[in-house]
């Protein structure tokens, strides 16, 4: 037994050695017009050595490693929390406290932190939207960023060409993204799940290509700049009012101009939008439609036998998910003031998917926590940032193997029965 495992470990490290040598160990370099092959530096070889030893050890103790990873890191959240009855009483207070903290906090920290928090809130919105599609309805959407782009460009274009305000464009962006979701979903949702993944992936690319090439409208690769910021009941957050006669925020309140008002204002809008999205999705999950989404994920054939129209149910999940992305997109372009197709590449879809997978498919709390971790961690460890996508990919593989239900698995609602 031990001997077999030893051979196994030798074999695995041998394979590992071959694979890393041919990529990390040798690299291609262009010198003038000729291509040169270079060996890795001593530091890289050390890393390769460490990696190989890790493979060797993990294979040698594969059983123990599996047992460890399978058993240990499952936090018993329910045990940490108070009793069911108490929790119901505490919940509104806790939520209120959280909200107050979220509203007061930006006034006490730096501008950069507030800006990062706003970005995190955008990813929370996107994560929650994709969570409906992937986590609840079980439809793998790899082109989610396309709907985000539709929302962003809708606001940017309407604002640029027709001077429409952010607040008027917000529902329009969500609506147009939903329409795109509907038009794409209608034909393809009848297909098997894995086809859906590839079609949405292609769709995401198409939207990007169109944005890049339809230069007369979208500005092509150089994008759209100077997108208007949201205003507070007509009060702008600029130093000087754009139009004659209009007042700006600081003039109205008679305070000195500061650019951080704008940042904080954007943050507060994001908080409100996120609260709105959370409320709506929370309701949806407890409504018949939400239950139908999950039922469809569990067993499509049983659903059909019970009279559920699977196309309509999938379509509703797909459309509502898309509209959330559109919503987030409109806010994104308002915050940035500048958008280009570069912001809507496949990697963005992958990051959102990683957020949903890491947090726990179907779990709202999990997705929110994962979005926070995934946006803030790379900022904290800057030198780490080039390894970000590598780690995301690795994380997805590792999670699927050991914890497919995510870090904070979805909790089933407990329904009170009146008997």
């Amino acid at each position: 037994m031990m001997r077999k495992r030893f051979y196994n470990a030798i074999f695995a490290s041998g394979i590992g050695f071959i694979l890393t040598c041919m990529m990390v160990g040798i690299s291609l370099n262009t010198e003038g017009t000729t291509l040169k092959v270079e060996g890795a530096s001593a530091a890289q070889w050390t890393w390769i050595g460490i990696g190989i030893s890790l493979v060797f050890l993990s294979q040698l103790f594969a059983g123990q490693v599996d047992a460890f990873l399978g058993a240990v890191p499952k936090p018993q959240l329910s045990k940490l929390l108070p009793e069911e009855g108490k929790r119901a009483m505490l919940k509104p207070w806790l939520l209120a406290a959280l909200l107050v903290v979220m509203l007061v906090w930006p006034f006490m920290v730096s501008r950069g932190s507030v800006d990062l928090a706003t970005l995190t809130l955008i990813y929370i919105m996107l994560g929650l939207g994709l969570n409906i599609v992937v986590g609840l309805a079980g439809l793998l959407d790899l082109g989610f960023v396309a709907f985000y782009a539709v929302g962003a460009y809708t606001y940017a274009l309407l604002s640029q060409y027709f001077g429409m305000s952010f607040w008027a464009c917000l529902p329009l962006s969500a609506g147009l993204a939903a329409l795109f979701g509907f038009l794409l979903g209608f034909p393809v949702l009848r297909l098997r799940g894995d086809y859906l993944a590839i079609v949405t992936l292609g769709f995401g690319e198409i939207i990007r290509i169109l944005l890049n090439n339809w230069t007369s409208v979208t500005g092509g690769p150089s994008g759209i700049s100077g997108i208007a910021k949201p205003s507070l009941f007509g009060l702008e957050f600029t130093r000087r009012a754009k139009e004659e006669g209009a007042t700006t925020f600081h003039e109205f309140f008679g305070i000195d101009y500061s650019s951080s008002y704008k940042v904080i204002f954007l943050y507060l809008i994001a908080v409100i939008l996120v609260c709105f999205v959370i409320y709506v999705i929370n309701r949806l999950m407890r409504m018949p439609i939400g239950r139908a989404w999950e039922a469809l994920r569990e067993d499509e054939i049983a659903c059909r036998s019970l009279g559920l129209n699977r196309t309509m149910i999938k379509l509703s999940a797909f459309t509502i998910g898309a509209s959330t992305a559109g919503f987030a997109g409109a806010f994104f372009s308002a915050r940035q003031g500048f958008i280009s197709p570069e912001s809507f590449i496949f990697i963005e879809s992958a990051i959102i998917l990683a957020i949903v997978v890491l947090g726990g498919m179907g779990s709202q709390v999990g997705v929110i926590l994962a979005a926070i971790v995934m946006t803030i961690l790379p900022e904290l460890a800057r030198e780490f940032s080039e390894y970000r996508m590598l780690l995301f990919g690795l994380l997805m593989v590792v999670m699927m193997r050991w914890r497919p239900e995510g870090l904070v698995p979805m909790k089933r609602p407990h329904l009170e029965l009146k008997t």
Binding site: I26, L28, L140, G202, E205, V397, M399, R401
Partner: protein
């Protein structure tokens, strides 16, 4: 002949060249799908890795002073195939085999994670920029009236055509004649039953991944030489195209993948002949959607009967 018709012939030649490499990659998708019913999203990355490995070998041998081109190419081919197959085997072993029997979505997400991982792994260990190799095989034939339009058919294109043809013939013989090939076919009919008959299905599945990866590596070598450029992101689009080809021909069917690849290549070449070339991706994707809508089983695929 008029200019347009000569131009169309030129595009046809180019399209068949690209199409035959799509076909090589598509076979990997179709074989895996046929047996375990899963889209191996990381397959496009194997092609990219195959391209890199062959560049490394070619540049290395040239640097060491080898000048015999056939020797260089054959060594590059062997090394690329062996290494890429090892990658293919490892991916299956690490990221897919432990997940067998779980919910359909789970191996799919694992595959996407694997694809992102490999892409960034190559980008970090090599560089994310283009790497260019000077053309190794130059020259060709030209015909047509030089004053109107000259159609060219390069030696490189001839190499791609003949290599693809040879590989296809060998693969077909392997699948239809050899014992392993027979086991492969049995697995794609009914995996569970084949297992009960005492065939080690895990070995067959691993073999599928190895064969698929080998073909992708061959495509990687050929396309690498043809374009002369690689970067870590070529696998993404190539994978999408090859998958489209596999669906077009009928997923699960090997002749279908060959046919689908050729059709897709020609369609793309014709599109870029008459429209801006960026739109060829739009057209091939549109083609994918249309096929899925009107003939989900593809040109040569068998319609699926749902088991209730």
């Amino acid at each position: 002949m008029t200019e347009t018709s000569l131009y169309v012939i030129q595009q046809l030649i180019n399209g068949l060249t690209i199409g035959s490499t799509y076909a090589l990659i598509a076979i990997g998708y179709t074989m895996v799908y046929g047996i375990i019913g899963m889209i191996n999203f990381a397959h496009g990355e194997i092609y990219m890795i195959g391209s890199y490995i062959s560049f490394i070998v070619i540049a290395g041998l040239l640097g060491m002073g080898f000048i015999s081109l056939p020797v260089i190419l054959i060594v590059a081919l062997i090394v690329a195939v062996v290494i890429a197959s090892t990658y293919g085997w490892t991916i299956e072993r690490v990221a897919y085999r432990p997940l067998r029997g779980s919910n359909r979505l789970i191996p799919l997400i694992s595959a996407i994670g694997m694809s992102i991982f490999l892409q960034n792994y190559v980008a970090l260990s090599q560089s994310s920029r283009d790497v260019a190799l000077p053309p190794q095989i130059t020259g060709g034939w030209t015909f047509g009236d030089p004053s109107v339009f000259e159609v060219s058919f390069s030696y490189m294109q001839l190499l791609i055509w003949s290599a693809t043809l040879l590989v296809m013939v060998l693969l077909t013989l392997f699948i239809s004649r050899s014992r392993m090939g027979r086991a492969c076919r049995a697995c794609s009919e009914d995996l569970g039953m084949t297992n009960l008959l005492g065939i080690d299905t895990n070995r067959i599945i691993a073999l599928t991944f190895i064969v698929g990866a080998a073909l992708a590596a061959i495509a990687g070598l050929l396309l690498g030489l043809y374009y002369g450029v690689v970067n870590p992101y070529i696998g993404f689009i190539a994978g999408l195209k090859a998958f489209t080809a596999a669906v077009l021909g009928g997923i699960g069917s090997i002749p279908g993948a060959m046919l689908g690849g050729l059709i897709l290549g020609v369609t793309e070449a014709m599109t870029s002949a008459f429209f801006p070339s960026e739109y060829k991706d739009v057209v091939s994707f549109g083609l994918l959607v249309l096929i899925l809508l009107f003939r989900p089983s593809g040109i040569l695929g068998k319609p699926e009967v749902e088991k209730v």
